[in-house]
Symmetry: D2
Subunit: 345 residues, 4 copies
Amino acid sequence: VKAVQIHGPRDVRVADVDDPRPESETDAVVRVTSAGICGSDLHLYHGRIDIEPGFVIGHEFTGVVEEVGASVGRVQPGDRVVGAFQTACGTCWFCRRRWYHNCTSMRLFGFGMAAGNLSGAQAERVLVPNADLALLSIPDELKEAQALFVGDILTTAHQAVRNAAFRPGDTIVVIGCGPVGLLAQRCVLLQGAGVVYALDRDAARLRIAAEHGAIPLNIDEQSADDAILEATDYRGADAVIECVGAEAALNAAIQLVRRNGVVSVAGVYTDDISPFPYGDLWMKDVRLVGGLCNVLAFWEEAMALVTYGRLDPSFIVSHELPLAEAPNAYRLFDRREALKVVLHP
Amino acid sequence: VKAVQIHGPRDVRVADVDDPRPESETDAVVRVTSAGICGSDLHLYHGRIDIEPGFVIGHEFTGVVEEVGASVGRVQPGDRVVGAFQTACGTCWFCRRRWYHNCTSMRLFGFGMAAGNLSGAQAERVLVPNADLALLSIPDELKEAQALFVGDILTTAHQAVRNAAFRPGDTIVVIGCGPVGLLAQRCVLLQGAGVVYALDRDAARLRIAAEHGAIPLNIDEQSADDAILEATDYRGADAVIECVGAEAALNAAIQLVRRNGVVSVAGVYTDDISPFPYGDLWMKDVRLVGGLCNVLAFWEEAMALVTYGRLDPSFIVSHELPLAEAPNAYRLFDRREALKVVLHP
Amino acid sequence: VKAVQIHGPRDVRVADVDDPRPESETDAVVRVTSAGICGSDLHLYHGRIDIEPGFVIGHEFTGVVEEVGASVGRVQPGDRVVGAFQTACGTCWFCRRRWYHNCTSMRLFGFGMAAGNLSGAQAERVLVPNADLALLSIPDELKEAQALFVGDILTTAHQAVRNAAFRPGDTIVVIGCGPVGLLAQRCVLLQGAGVVYALDRDAARLRIAAEHGAIPLNIDEQSADDAILEATDYRGADAVIECVGAEAALNAAIQLVRRNGVVSVAGVYTDDISPFPYGDLWMKDVRLVGGLCNVLAFWEEAMALVTYGRLDPSFIVSHELPLAEAPNAYRLFDRREALKVVLHP
Amino acid sequence: VKAVQIHGPRDVRVADVDDPRPESETDAVVRVTSAGICGSDLHLYHGRIDIEPGFVIGHEFTGVVEEVGASVGRVQPGDRVVGAFQTACGTCWFCRRRWYHNCTSMRLFGFGMAAGNLSGAQAERVLVPNADLALLSIPDELKEAQALFVGDILTTAHQAVRNAAFRPGDTIVVIGCGPVGLLAQRCVLLQGAGVVYALDRDAARLRIAAEHGAIPLNIDEQSADDAILEATDYRGADAVIECVGAEAALNAAIQLVRRNGVVSVAGVYTDDISPFPYGDLWMKDVRLVGGLCNVLAFWEEAMALVTYGRLDPSFIVSHELPLAEAPNAYRLFDRREALKVVLHP
């Protein structure tokens, strides 16, 4: 089967790989029908995360179940499904508490040996271990592009907003208008905020944010600090959702939030930060939350919101391309010429 | 000044009463510009709650501050304000915990001696004790009809929905399409539910519910049980908001909610219920919450939602009449010919 | 194997029954070493709950695993275990949310066909379906009598106290000094209350309560209302834990709790209540919570407390008898001559 | 009146200052009977926080009310009281939400002009603005030494433990066995933890920790990491309470906590940290909370715990000295020869 392999920085190739088969009775094999390219794939693409050359990448996918192991019960061959970006054992200390993202044998699709050695989903077919946990049926009324992001970035945005635990009517800032940021802005409004400010320096993305109800702030053109202070009687934002994953963004979040507020971090951070304004954080009594999304615990919520029509995440898709054009797709996404690319095997 | 007095069942009159003056340094006097007639006023009107003949009634109002005592600081003469249906001492054990509705010396506007002997707001002028707590400024951008309900039924609906503590995407039932029910349906959607079902037997009110995003269920025409079970894969509603205040409504709520769900009661209950299906409640592991709204703790949230345009409660106003027509207004409201009447002194 | 069967009201017999064998790959068979008689067994004993004559009863047990199905992983033959009073499928809508007590195919040990047709644990051997969920290993340092109640009444008491969600320093009332009540009093102190009052009319049980840190109130000798009002500056208890399961007890709970407090019901209720003081409940703004314990979600907490020595529940055991003496044991327990009986096969 | 002034690093003097009088009708003047020296006073003593030479310091005190302004109602002359380390306006946006520690005109006793220009309590008499908020009556049954810390370090410890929001039975680490750390360890056990580990390098302080129920870990003698990992099946602590206020301590906290755990910081931090292991924090999905204690919202809880005898904080007092010996007292405390000094005017 065809699949997208990474061979080094900025070197992705489409190649033939072995056809996956269920290896245990809890496995399923899914014929992939759409596969997104995610911001976290760029960490691999840029070489910031090490991965074995030739590893098949990709962790956002929908498809049709083709085969299931004997004990798989929730999905059956023929079912239309979305996959989570991870799978979990379901029985360890963390899984028993429903913290699947902390599973002691957690496996990420398409992140190499260190992340559980699980071949990625930018492929014609993908093996899904513990399929009853890691696959979710797509309701008939939904298109694939509406369900695809439930397995990763929509639920990431949704949970980051949930973690902020703000009150109805609050003033919220979302840093970043990439795919996660734009979805977080929608979730902020859905969860009852009074108003959401969208920060970015990309005019086109800010325009999309505005179309979906956020107040755009172009940080190249105006001071976000001043704007948020003025909007909040000089208190600061009740909560800030950080959706970029860069030191400057986190610093801005700490700066923009009011005393006793929350900074909820959806952006990915793997390194030390120097200097980190912990004194400011402490003096302002800010709660700092964030980490990998617990997609398996929260995706039924996200899917319900999409199914009931409260939220349609497909607006973030800017490009749909055949799997064979993956190298080009990565280039477009890397250059920010594409907001979100979906590959079709 | 002119004011609406109750003299007995179905006997309200407009009469001249003494002009109120601040009696202590925390008092304010407000010139009333609009005053709602509330469902709970009908308890007085029907004689179900005892009250001294000639007592001035009414507890929903907006107006302009005319005089303030020396220590009043948050509002000043000339300010446009909305009043809460109650005032509180601000310092007792309950008030110190922000449970103002449980204040040991709580006073309701317009409910007679037993409720704190506080003259009502269906009047040209009203005395407001502890004005810094019991008055809230109306932002310039709002019309009075948008702010009026923040002092009572909007915040009642809002808090009842908050108390239900449902999850995003959940399926919620609101029993009743009176003013509180209609507002609760809006709040349910604002707070992130997947879908809200509106139950009533009044086709006109159900139509309004549908216009504002709820799925109407006419309980005279179909079985609510069947409809909700079908809509929830035979589990029942995740939460039910009871907005009627009648035994049958509470029974229906307990019937409609799923195991481990919540019944949140905004409707007013003062009597024993016989028989009460407590066994069903216990077997289903349902949480039952409800009681007088803590308006002074929650109204800033409601005002923020209105100010940011997330919610415009003025759609429930069906009639605006001069204060002098209060007797007629009560008749219209009592016969359900009016959804909501606002009096203008 | 020998087992305790119920044949009708007050008619329990020890008889030979078929030796259980694992029927599916998730089953285990446990050789029972101790089996408690629970207050809920008396519902069967009194004929208040219907059950097929000859059904083996009992749902509190410890033992040693003898056989396990192929996919059982958390326990192995030879392991010392405690069993839960129920088993669950682990995969239904409720189980996925960790609400195992609401499992759509929930099965109670020893409660007849209607409760899942699962043979009871007052027997030499017992079949345990979905053993990875329904069995918990007993740490080496614990005696059986310390672990036995983790599978039922200790966790029931623990969760009822958790559900009350009181604040450190609060004044709590526990109604009833039976086994659940006494354990709830311990849990109340462990979870940070200021003081706990124990209500009963049995002087001996009140003495045990006092020995374990509660303030005893004999309701035959003094007014609980007066005592609690005096102790709380005339507010009432911050929370009441109802551990009896009788209409009068629930009424007392509603009477004793303060405004904005919680009544958490561990006692079992299956019938309507007439009259039920719902008006009082609503006027006081009391939250009412209760239902079957979610033992599979909470028992690791209870086991940790016992393992670390924070709590030793074995003090409630008044009688240990051979399984063969089950008829006599039931008589003792029914007459309240025994506080808690443990049978040893 | 005599008072303790700071004149520069390590230069405190006892001098005569003006006798305070109530300046507004919400003020009280308290005759101080005991005044603690707090770890945060050492920030002034070391010159790490700037303060005007000659400023009277001290912010932990008990005393007797001597005079009150006209509108003070909760305390009266003759009342035995404890003071909070701060006072608040009671009416600003933050105070209305009960976040008194975030009051926009918050004033700290004894921290100079920048902190509200409020003269300290290491003095014979102290002025207390907004006395109804900032003073709490001491129940008759308590000694002063039991109530003194309710106004600062006990409530600081108590709230930091509350913020950790751990579950009953959890394994908790407290970093530091100074006064706050020792009190936090007591609070951890009171709030239902399974076990608490106390970290320090001072053998004498670790001994005190052990006497009060903690498991001592001398970090000079063994690896805390190894010990905690072994104690938790290699997961890490469920929560860590940081009670030191030093970069190394915060790093250790982040290292010791398990995935999805909480680090709650009672220690004071005012500066940037470089490098800060934010990548570790994010990858482990740890919540980081901390800041100045909201003493006015939480001290009634702490006082209730002391009053009911659940906790006696006076064990931390190592030295009681006359106010006149303040210079010596500061020396002893600075050199860690005293665990906690209480001055008596």
